[in-house]
């Protein structure tokens, strides 16, 4: 059932998914849905594409296993919910879908879904098992990322052209579905893309018109970037050949945000080719910058046990096995501190826009 080829007609895929279960029932078999395993045990780092890819391991969700029965029902419900969306030609948020499916099971005092956390992973299961994409199932997440800079973005379905230099303080909200059919690039004058981890820093860069001074696009995913933002980065690089620089906190979580932008995530390894941008480079922050930029020690934060443990995990990931990264992570463990982007403000409020970023870009002081 796990197809290697990305299917053309997701509606048919969903129907076949259901027919397969009914067929098993007709044969009086324990209904069994095979789903790709989406965890560390079933991913590999593809050296050629430099992306995290999904392996071949399949798990079985069966009806006659009490640990699975509820999830089995929920998965079928998610599939049927998606089919209805496609049939009706509407797109909705994954949150809407959750509410749409949530109700009390008749005669039992139990909800079909308690929280959205129950339905979201099942959508990913369906995507991975049908080898389709959420957007093809007419689903999107809440818009999260922002973009500002010299580019015009056309959205044919809304018949709008958005000049991203004229978006004011909030910038252009990156749609959750960011496919060529819905989001098109026009008149890009930018020379590179700068992605910052935090909205606060993005606000600073926008206020200082950093994008104007340095002729670039400035984006943020507000923490771990959502799929739309990552797809946008991927397309800006692939279609417009723009270099991608990532700027995050000098801590394990910041480093991993960069990692997800660059080589994709473990959970969504089945769409790494569309979401990952292997050519992205890490601009900062690093713990080695502290000495380089004479950042006062009192703005650093002591590593806690969670940081140290996670650092060891990062060192174990194949895609972190690069000399510069190993040096940085080991350096962090050695000095025993981390620091946030905001720490740069201790030198001066505009230090990041006037000194730190320009120097980094000029000297091409990046981590791979």
């Amino acid at each position: 059932m796990v197809s290697k080829e990305r299917i053309k007609d997701p509606k048919e895929g969903l129907e076949n998914f259901g027919k397969d279960i009914v067929k098993q029932l007709e044969k009086i078999q324990n209904p069994d849905m095979s789903l790709p395993v989406r965890n560390l045990s079933n991913i590999y780092f593809d050296d050629k594409s430099k992306l995290i890819m999904l392996g071949d391991k399949v798990s079985h969700r069966t009806y006659l296993n009490v640990a699975h029965t509820r999830k089995f029902m929920q998965t079928v419900m998610v599939a049927s919910g998606c089919k209805k969306l496609i049939q009706q030609g509407v797109t909705t948020s994954i949150r809407d879908l959750f509410y749409n499916m949530k109700h009390t099971i008749p005669k039992y005092n139990e909800e079909t879904f308690e929280t959205q956390e129950e339905s979201d992973p099942l959508i990913e299961d369906i995507e991975a098992s049908l080898n389709t994409l959420r957007e093809n199932l007419h689903l999107h997440a809440e818009q999260k990322g922002s973009l500002v800079g010299p580019i015009t973005i056309r959205e044919p379905s809304f018949d709008t052209e958005n000049d991203c230099t004229k978006m004011g303080a909030s910038g252009y909200g990156i749609p959750s579905i960011c496919e060529p059919e819905t989001v098109q690039f026009r008149d890009c004058k930018a020379e590179f893309v700068l992605i910052v981890e935090k909205d606060a820093i993005w606000q600073r860069l926008n206020e200082d018109r950093f994008w104007k001074k340095h002729n670039c696009l400035v984006m943020t995913g507000k923490g771990q970037p959502d799929r739309g933002t990552r797809r946008m980065i991927n397309r800006l690089h692939n279609e417009l050949k723009l270099p991608i620089y990532v700027c995050a906190d000098a801590d394990v979580w910041g480093f991993y945000i960069y990692s997800v932008i660059k080589q994709g995530s473990i959970n969504l390894s089945f769409v790494s080719d569309r979401l990952g941008t292997p050519q992205a480079k890490y601009l900062g922050l690093t713990t080695q910058d502290v000495a380089k930029f004479s950042i006062p020690k009192n703005v650093t934060i002591k590593l806690n046990e969670g940081d140290k443990k996670r650092a060891q995990e990062l060192l174990n990931y194949v895609w972190f096995k690069k000399k510069d990264w190993e040096n940085e992570i080991k350096h962090m463990l050695q000095v025993g501190y981390k620091l946030e982007l905001e720490a740069l403000s201790s030198k001066d409020i505009r230090f990041i826009t006037e000194k730190y970023l320009p120097q980094k870009i000029k000297e091409e002081d990046f981590l791979p």
Partner: protein, 538 residues
């Protein structure tokens, strides 16, 4: 004599105050040795002695016992106790001896599985009554000849004989059995170690008996549920392994055997000519000489020699165990449990005495807490639980191995019933409250309990499985409707039809997929710590 101090008495002077003490006098001063150490316990012991005797008498005469016990308060801390049985009765001339002199009885000189054995119990009860209230006991007895002999008597403590106060023979009533009435000091309570508990446990261990107890708080009927008596125990001569020097000497002096060798073969259990000759040879004594001619110094040699030769174990078919059926009946009728497991071990031997261990475990339903019922020759033991081999053995068992919650003893709602029968039960004291911890006995008790515990554990895991199975079916049923509806939307097939298919699969196939096994791997696909993509699609 330099070491003499003033006032030293000569041996002659001391001799004037030294005199023989009768057993009765000894008891008068040391009644705690027989268990009469408090007023609550005293009532229990009197009832116990009376009921034990009654049951023994009925069983020996092969009569299904009907026992009546009445207890009423007749003054402050003063009770009248009546115990009546339907046994064979006691012939007239023996009545004063049985009740009026300590250590008189038919049982002390033989080895046979009985409740009482020393001829001490009932006369001590008489003693206790007269000591505490000064009242005589009244005895009615009939052997079924239409005559009832009535006695009122006390014990002449100095001479250890009955002091008959009244004596008459009544006619006009056809019955057989004995009725004895005591008036004694006591305090009546109904708790763990009470008359009521004793009678209840007796009823459990003797389900072939009818017992009525009319106590200060009302009437309790313990009905007979089995109409046959256990097989009759057999009497055996002692086995030489368990005979110590003193007894050996006494037996040797009293024997009517013509030679030492024939003394050994006739007076002891399972001792043949070859073994007898070998004992004599090892002892360096001529087996043909008369026992009377054996010198004192040679007696020790003979006793020593018995320890060096190979002996045949005593016969074990002389015991009268309850058997699985009686144990189950008894536990069922008085405890109303959910499940009963019983185990009967084969007889074994300690110190030359055959013994046998039986265990029953009653679990659940009306039982609310863990309790041990200890029995020796069908008599409940209520006191000194901690010193008893049964309790000690129970505590040495690894109950957790049998899936019981436990800290030394289980906390499950169950009753552990342990019965030891033997021609000679080794009690830790004359009050017969706890069984001595001989390794052979401990081992047998443990093996029996373990086997019973295994049975209960198997039963409980079956229950758990059944409950689990029911829970599974409920789960499958619960999600079927929604699954069918969603499948209808997906495939266009009719939801009702799909629901029926699911029901069919559940009813026909669910048994095959008991364990979580491989499919469980799926559960592990939940996000692990290693999978910290977090925050996507918030």
């Amino acid at each position: 004599m330099a070491d003499q101090v003033a006032g030293v008495k000569s041996a002659e002077e001391l001799a004037k105050t030294q005199k023989g003490v009768s057993v009765s006098e000894f008891f008068e001063k040391n009644r705690h040795l027989l268990g009469y150490d408090n007023k609550i316990k005293a009532l229990l012991i009197i009832v116990k002695e009376g009921v034990d005797n009654a049951l023994d008498a009925c069983e020996e005469a092969r009569i299904l016992p009907d026992i009546y016990v009445k207890m009423e308060e007749v003054g402050t801390e003063k009770y009248k106790i009546v115990i009546r049985d339907n046994g064979p009765g006691i012939v007239k001339q023996n009545i004063p001896k049985v009740f009026g002199s300590l250590l008189y009885g038919s049982k002390f000189h033989r080895l046979r599985q009985n409740r009482g054995a020393q001829g001490l119990g009932i006369s001590c009860a008489v003693m206790y009554s007269q000591l505490t209230t000064g009242e005589p006991v009244e005895i009615l007895s009939s052997v079924g000849d239409g005559k009832t002999h009535r006695y009122k008597m006390k014990i002449d403590v100095k001479n250890n004989i009955a002091q008959v106060l009244e004596e008459e023979t009544l006619t006009g009533k056809e019955w057989h059995g004995v009725q004895i009435t005591f008036v004694c000091e006591g305090v009546y309570r109904e708790h763990k170690q009470s008359v009521l508990e004793y009678i209840k446990q007796t009823a459990i261990a003797n389900p072939f008996s009818n017992i009525v107890f009319e106590g200060p708080t009302g009437r309790f009927d313990f009905k007979r549920t089995v109409n046959e008596l256990p097989k009759e125990p057999k009497e055996i001569p002692p086995h030489i392994e368990g005979v110590e020097y003193g007894v050996f000497e006494r037996m040797l002096r009293a024997t009517s055997a013509r030679s030492v060798a024939s003394f050994l073969t006739t007076e002891f259990s399972r001792l043949g000519k070859t073994t007898a000759d070998e004992i004599c040879k090892v002892a360096g004594i001529d087996g043909k000489i008369s026992p009377r001619r054996v010198e004192d110094k040679d007696i020790g040699k003979l006793v020593q020699a018995t320890k060096q030769v190979k002996l045949i174990a005593p016969p074990t078919d002389v015991l009268s165990p309850l058997g699985d059926k009686l144990i189950e009946e008894g536990l069922k009728k008085e405890l109303n449990p959910e499940f009963i497991a019983t185990v009967s071990r084969s007889p074994a031997v300690y110190r030359g005495f055959p013994f046998q261990v039986e265990v029953g475990i009653a679990y659940g339903q009306s039982i609310t807490e863990f309790k041990i019922i200890r029995l020796a020759n069908r008599v409940p033991l209520l006191y000194q639980q901690g010193d008893c081999a049964i309790t000690k053995s129970s505590m040495e068992i690894d109950w957790k191995r049998y899936k019981f919650q436990s800290d030394k003893l289980p906390t499950e709602p169950m009753v552990l019933f342990v019965h030891i029968c033997s021609v000679w039960v080794p009690f830790t004291s004359e009050s017969k409250e706890a069984i001595a911890s001989y390794p052979e006995i401990m081992k047998e008790i443990k093996l029996a309990i373990q086997e019973a515990a295994r049975k209960v554990s198997l039963y409980l895991s079956g229950i758990r499985k059944a409950e689990y199975q029911a829970e599974r079916m409920k789960t499958f049923e619960k999600y079927a409707e929604e699954t069918a509806k969603a499948l209808e939307d997906l495939t266009g097939e009719n939801a009702k039809k799909i629901k029926q298919l699911i029901d069919k699969v559940v009813s026909e196939r669910s048994g095959e997929f008991q364990d979580m096994g491989e499919e469980d791997a799926e559960e592990k696909t939940k996000k692990t710590k290693d999978d910290e993509d977090g925050g996507e699609d918030e």
